[in-house]
């Protein structure tokens, strides 16, 4: 073992060193050039690789942002910063597959929200364009062990009174750290958002601030109109894509919206279809099948009702939080909580996501609640790590602890899904990344407030 020459992060001296690094990461000093170490070794840890059984007393080596080695008998390289993780556990960082992180700072304040563009068809807008790397949500969310998210336009929030449009734009997969959006990007365009139209007989009328009832026939007509429009967009995109291939699109008649849809109709870019009701899901599946689109279902409150269909079409699901009210009042009280177990039993591939920004840190809690209602623990862990990665075609890069993957890693003092577990160390792209955040800063500030004299 060459550990003697390796810098030991566990020792008091290097702990100071670590603190300095943390401070630098937390408050970047202008012009300061820091050379972050590129080799780390996490030793004596229980390692949950999610690619095989847990390693009891294992070592994980990080080099140049990637996992260089992981196993029980791995040598610590010379010059590596060593984290003695005896008694601690190592997991892949969690992946929250539907969020508005970076796109929405304070939900009620429109000026801080860039989550939903106006209009019904915005296939050309891209989340990455508007993600704020300085958002307080990033470090707050990191502190709960989430290392990467999908930032999804038109997926939440109440801009435009909750109206989200049919083609919502492109979702971006990002690391939750980076000085610029480029450093944060995993994949700029990871999915095209489709908010599946709904047949709405009950609507809310803002003009009178009251509920309105609409006859079914009228609601159905509106729905058909929207689906026809969507069909038209996809048809035009297909023709446009063919024209692009033939070089028939000149720079003068370039159509940015159709151009953005080209990878969708070519089957390269999946559509992330938001639908909750069984009827809507069925309609969406039929549509995507007919149009040969690669569909990922998002929401899926009633996915359990169409699980066989989803399984037979190989359509994965990004499930909305289990901690949601059941859709109907006559649903069993635990309707949402048992759905993951049901989908797993049916062989439907799924991930669990927060569908939020400030509740993103409840990701683990949601997965744990699914376990409490019948989902196997390993499945729950996969639903917030490797499954979302695979669903968005990133499974070879992240989601498990395997050699060659991007080192997005958390070192915890226990089960990362449990409420009381703490993240002790967090790595993003192989860099030891601070979990200090606004909430801790305020906590420390006010914990140290001198007693008021009153």
């Amino acid at each position: 073992m060459k550990r003697k020459r390796a810098a030991r992060l566990g020792s008091p001296l290097y702990f100071f060193d670590f603190l300095c690094l943390v401070c630098l990461l937390a408050a970047p000093a202008a012009g300061a050039q820091i050379q972050a170490p590129s080799v780390y070794a996490i030793t004596h840890a229980k390692i949950f690789t999610l690619a095989g059984s847990p390693i009891e007393d294992g070592t994980l080596v990080i080099r140049d942002g990637k996992i260089a080695a992981v196993g029980a008998a791995v040598e610590v390289p010379a010059g590596a910063r060593v984290i003695d993780a005896k008694g601690l556990e190592v997991y892949p960082g969690l992946f929250d597959a539907v969020t508005q992180i970076g796109l929405s700072e304070v939900g009620a304040v429109g000026a801080t929200v860039d989550a939903t563009e106006a209009g019904n068809y915005n296939p050309d807008v891209v989340a990455a364009t508007a993600i704020s790397p300085s958002s307080e949500h990033l470090p707050v969310t990191r502190a709960s062990g989430i290392t990467e998210v999908l930032a999804v336009p038109a997926s939440g929030g109440f801009d435009f009174g909750g109206s989200r449009g049919t083609l919502g734009g492109q979702a971006s997969a990002i690391h939750l750290a980076g000085w610029t959006i480029d450093e944060m990007l995993i994949r700029k365009s990871a999915a095209m958002v489709v908010n599946w139209p709904q047949i709405q007989t009950q609507t809310f009328d803002f003009a009178t601030f009251s509920r309105k009832e609409k006859p079914y026939s009228e609601a159905k007509q509106e729905y058909d109109k929207q689906v026809n429009e969507l069909t038209d967009w996809i048809d035009r995109a297909r023709h446009y894509a063919q024209a692009m291939e033939k070089g028939a699109v000149s720079k003068y008649d370039r159509d940015l919206k159709l151009e953005a849809l080209a990878p969708v109709v070519r089957g390269e870019l999946p559509v992330l279809v938001f639908a909750n009701r069984a009827r809507d899901i069925r309609n969406a599946v039929e549509f995507c099948d007919k149009q040969k689109l690669k569909m990922i279902l998002a929401g899926g409150a009633e996915a359990y009702k169409v699980k066989d269909l989803l399984r037979s079409k190989n359509i994965p699901v990004i499930l909305r939080p289990m901690l949601s009210s059941p859709p109907d009042e006559d649903d069993p009280y635990d309707r949402e909580l048992t759905e993951p177990a049901e989908l797993a039993a049916a062989g439907v591939k799924f991930a669990i996501a927060s569908f939020d920004n400030s509740f993103a840190r409840r990701l683990g809690q949601n997965a744990a609640n699914a376990v409490a209602h019948g989902l196997a623990y390993d499945e729950a862990l996969r639903a917030v790590t490797i499954n979302p990665a695979q669903i968005f075609g990133l499974g070879s890069q992240i989601g498990t602890l395997e050699q060659g993957k991007i080192a997005n890693i958390i070192v915890t003092d226990g089960d990362p899904l449990e409420l009381t577990s703490d993240v002790r160390y967090l790595f993003i792209k192989g860099q030891l990344t601070s979990t200090q955040n606004k909430h801790q800063r305020l906590y420390e500030k006010y914990a140290n407030r001198p007693k008021a004299s009153n």
């Binding site: 109440f158 901690l323 569908f355 006010y446």
Partner: protein, 494 residues
Amino acid sequence: MRISFSMNARRAPIAFVLLLPRFLSALCLAPSGEAATPPDAAPVILIQNTTVMTVSHGTIEHGSILIKDGKIAEVGQSIKAPTGAQVIEASGQFVIPGIIDCHSHIAAEAINEGSVSVSSMVNMEEVLDPEDIDIYRDLAGGVTSANILHGSANSIGGQTLVIKLRWGQPAAKLPFEGAVPGIKFALGENPKRSNFSIPGQPRRYPATRMGVAETIRGAFSEARDYKKTWDDYHKRVAAGEKNLIPPRRDLKLEPLVEVLEGKRYVHSHCYREDEILMLLLVAKEFGFTVRTLQHVLEGYKVADELAAAGVGASTFSDWWAYKVEAYDAIPYNAALMTRRGVLVSINSDDAEEATHLNQEAAKSMKYGGLTHDEALKLVTLNPAIQLGIDNRVGTIDVGKDADLAIYNHDPLSAYAVVQKTLIDGRVYFDRDKDLASRAEIEKEKKTLTDKLKKEEKKPEEKKPEEKKPEQSPKPPALSAAPTAQARAVQGGAL
């Protein structure tokens, strides 16, 4: 102004939807074995071989609880089952006092009289809905009592009351007997309507935090005068004066006089430290006390002031950033205030959140390092004290109401699931029976749907044409998760 949208349009006729809770309540409440028990007769129950988390005097391993006449008759390690007692074998399980939700809007037909800035004349008790399915869902989350509050649309809102979640009982049986009634106040963004406006309506006073303070001061000035008018009248009657005409009753000011007389608790929605201190000043000026500050997300900044004023704080676990006034909200709030001597509870403000308040309390161990016992108190004893019902509930002690929640794991874990919930010594929720009754409910539901389908196939009667709205603005399509926060931004209850 809290509007809950259905996630999707329902095709089923309204009548069908309205029918469901009725037969559900019948089925859920009267599972086979207990159907014969008359609703008001509480059986003798022994819960045995279980971990009893008393909250008041530690945890008893392999403990038992004997329940008689709806009260806790004995708590200890080896209690013999009296003859005829119903025995609940709960080995490997955990019993805690029933959870008390200090901020709830369940079981209410409406929660906001938002047309005026002082709506103290309205009372939540008049709109209790005993068939709200959320009562059952929260019961299934271990909640036994809840503080049913008016919304936060106005500086001084409606009258409030504490209920027990006696699912299946009529509205008249829901109120917590003898609990001090309350009134809702609200400060900050909601009463000043910062985040929404009602089209066609002018800006309503108050529109600033300054105006909110003056609205409350103005109302209490009136209430003082009104009280004096009545006091004078009573004095003159007592002095033997005859033929006096009593002052005209003012239903708006009466509840405020009760506040001045200490007969009605003030539960005030608030966020920012400045508005919190403002309310304490106004209360001091008019000589009333604030019983609880609700949400109080910046309470940690003025914890010493809260402790000195003896005001309770009822907060969220980890909500933040849904409004600017929630941007400095931190999950350490409960722990920081507790450490500075404030009586703290964690509430839901949301029917779904209430189903896992045990988990929300657990977060205070991670954020701020409360002990297991301190964390458990946040949703049991502390809200009981805040609502003035701790002589009846909140701990597992002899003589208290047998309001209990039984979990299959340590309740301060995300893996814990409620098995049974008891109120007044009666099992109001039983997970096994709930699971067992589902097939039957499905069957009955199918029978009803089939019947409706058959009826729908008959030639439709021509309904009178409804007026179409001139403009049909795009409704909020909750295709994604309708989170509590999303609902909040709708001008919500919180």
